[in-house]
């Protein structure tokens, strides 16, 4: 089991979700985050006072998948989220020790 964590542009969320749905990946969790990378922020002005904002809104999608689906999921996300411009985001992959479905206490791959 792997956890795939994708940090993407907010307006790409729907595209990515649709692509994943097409792949049969349903279980996922989304978090609103702000991020910084190579992308430059912007400047705001309040009564002439400058205020630099360099943490930009992103969405984090986390999904735990079985080993065999890892690569296609990554590929799908990357394809759906890509615009080719700075700020597109990253995908990180982690090992998962175990998974439990709270409803019925299924464990492991069955829980996903």
């Amino acid at each position: 089991m792997y956890k795939i964590e994708a940090i993407i542009q907010p307006h790409k969320l729907d595209d990515v979700r649709n692509a994943l749905k097409a792949l049969g990946i349903d279980g996922l969790t989304v978090t609103e985050v702000r991020g910084h990378g190579r992308q430059k922020g912007h400047t705001e002005f309040y009564r002439g006072q400058e205020y630099k904002v360099d943490l930009l809104p992103k969405r984090k999608i986390e999904m735990v998948v079985t080993n065999d689906r890892k690569d296609e999921v990554i590929e799908t996300i990357v394809k759906a989220a890509q615009t080719g411009k700075i700020g597109d985001g990253k995908v990180f992959v982690y090992d998962v020790g175990d998974a439990i479905r709270i409803r019925n206490e299924d464990r492991g791959d069955a829980a996903l």
Binding site: E44, F45, Y46, R47, G48, Q49, Y51, K52
Partner: protein, 456 residues
């Protein structure tokens, strides 16, 4: 320090004035005029509008500009004035301002609203009940200390804000209001004053006093922790926008209501008010467009408020397009003050109570000396019964000097009174919140509440 000396002097003087000469007779009007339902309707609704300026108007304008954790604390600084100043005004404030007394303070004949009833007080407003006049003027006494709180927002204890405001009313607002508007007031050109200062709706009484007092408090209390390195953007500009619009609408009660009747003078003041606000907004937007490339929403509403504060003094004395000029100047000057000068001087006037109200009030005071004209307001008569020339446009440039003197007197009272009030408050209760409380925010540390619980 000379200021300190002056402060002590003033402090000693004032109470003496307050109770002197209470036996001098009121000039009794020949015949008691009848109440006009139209005038009373207008003045009651104007009173309601001016209350609405403080709450929710100013409270929202201010609380949208602070950080989330101070939203309630900032609102409360306005709301508490609605509660506390009301009682003080009814107990003695009204009397100290509008009763006959000496040139600096009224006496206590109207204390506890004694003698303030259905019959008009013909000295001020012969066609409306005395009670209407009293409550209308109360609303001005409420908003003035509320304006000051913008300067020390986000870092002062609630109890201290209250005590400070109370002392301040007695040392600054009551005397200045009496001098400018009270019968026999030193600066009241219409009721026997020495130096004629035209202040239609409180440019000096409200905006200069609150604005300069604000500056003093901001410097005295020092900057917020983290200012100016740490960014402190407004947490909710929508609230400030609602507040600014309600201020605009309410200001019609403030300025046009100051005609004290639904007369054509009220209409004239209404128009001047509206035009100056519009011009102020346009000017500030232009200034931001030039300097940052983008006219901001905060800029637009700040410009409107600057225009409104600046035209207050002259609203019932100037022609419509004079008001446009006043509004434009207000927008540019206040913008410069707030965006350039403040940044240079590095004091932390959190919500620009000085930059908008102090500066706007001051230039509005002078510009009234320029633009006031008997074509608009012929209340002041020459010996021969003709309307007296008012400002420079009427061929009376000396009025600018009178206005300047009025402004300076207002500033001196504001500075001295504020210093005393700060000192007394500090000794009695302390003034500033602890750094820990400031970090936690006023809402939790002072009021034990949070403004938003969106995840409940």
């Amino acid at each position: 320090m000379s200021l300190r000396t002056l402060a002590v002097l003033a402090y000693l003087c004032l109470p003496a004035c307050a109770f002197a000469q209470t036996d001098s007779p009121l000039p009794s009007p020949a015949a008691v005029p009848a109440i006009s339902a139209g005038d009373n309707a207008w003045m009651l609704i104007s009173a309601a509008l001016v209350l609405m300026m403080t709450g929710p108007g100013l409270a929202l304008f201010y609380c949208g500009l602070v950080r989330r954790r101070n939203v309630l604390g900032t609102m409360m600084q306005s709301f508490a004035m609605m509660a506390v100043v009301t009682l003080v005004w009814a107990i003695c404030g009204y009397s100290l301002v509008f009763a006959e007394g000496n040139a600096f303070l009224g006496d206590l004949r109207f204390a506890f609203l004694h003698g303030v009833g259905a019959a008009p007080n013909a000295n001020y407003a012969p066609t409306i009940p005395h009670l209407t006049f009293m409550i209308y003027q109360m609303m001005f006494a409420i908003i003035t200390p509320a304006l000051i709180t913008g300067a020390f927002a986000e870092r002062v204890k609630f109890s201290s804000t209250l005590l400070f405001s109370l002392i301040w009313l007695f040392l600054v607002y009551f005397p200045i209001a009496h001098m400018v508007w009270g019968i026999g007031g030193y600066l009241n050109p219409f009721l026997g004053g020495k130096i004629p200062v035209f202040d239609f709706a409180g440019g000096t009484v409200v905006h200069i006093t609150s604005g300069f007092s604000a500056l003093v408090t901001a410097i005295w209390v020092g900057r917020r922790v983290g200012y100016p390195q740490e960014p402190m953007p407004p947490h909710n500009l929508v609230l400030s926008f609602i507040g600014a619009c309600l201020l605009w609408v309410g200001w019609f009660g403030f300025n046009a209501g100051s005609a004290l009747a639904a007369s054509s003078l009220a209409s004239s003041a209404f128009v001047a008010t509206h035009l100056a606000s519009a011009a102020g907004a346009v000017a500030w937007m232009i200034a931001e467009r030039i300097r940052n490339g983008k006219p901001g929403a905060l800029g637009a509403i700040s410009g409107a408020v600057a225009g409104l504060a600046t035209v207050t003094q002259g609203a019932g004395f100037v022609q419509p397009f004079s008001a446009v000029i006043i509004g434009f100047i207000a927008g540019f000057v206040c913008y410069t003050m707030v965006a350039v000068v403040k940044a240079k001087l590095k004091y932390d006037d959190t919500l620009d109570a000085f930059g908008v109200h102090g500066v706007g009030g001051f230039i509005g005071c002078l510009l009234t000396g320029v633009f006031a004209t008997r074509a608009v307001n012929d209340t002041l008569k020459l010996a021969n019964g003709q309307a007296a020339p008012l400002g420079a446009v009427d061929g009376n440039p000396g009025q600018i000097l009178n206005q300047l003197i009025g402004a300076i007197i207002g500033i001196v009272f504001a500075v001295v009174g504020t210093l005393i009030a700060l000192k007394v408050t500090s000794l009695a209760l302390g003034f500033r919140m602890s750094a820990r409380d400031e970090d936690q925010g006023m809402d939790l540390s002072l009021h034990g509440e949070e403004g938003y619980n969106f995840d409940s």
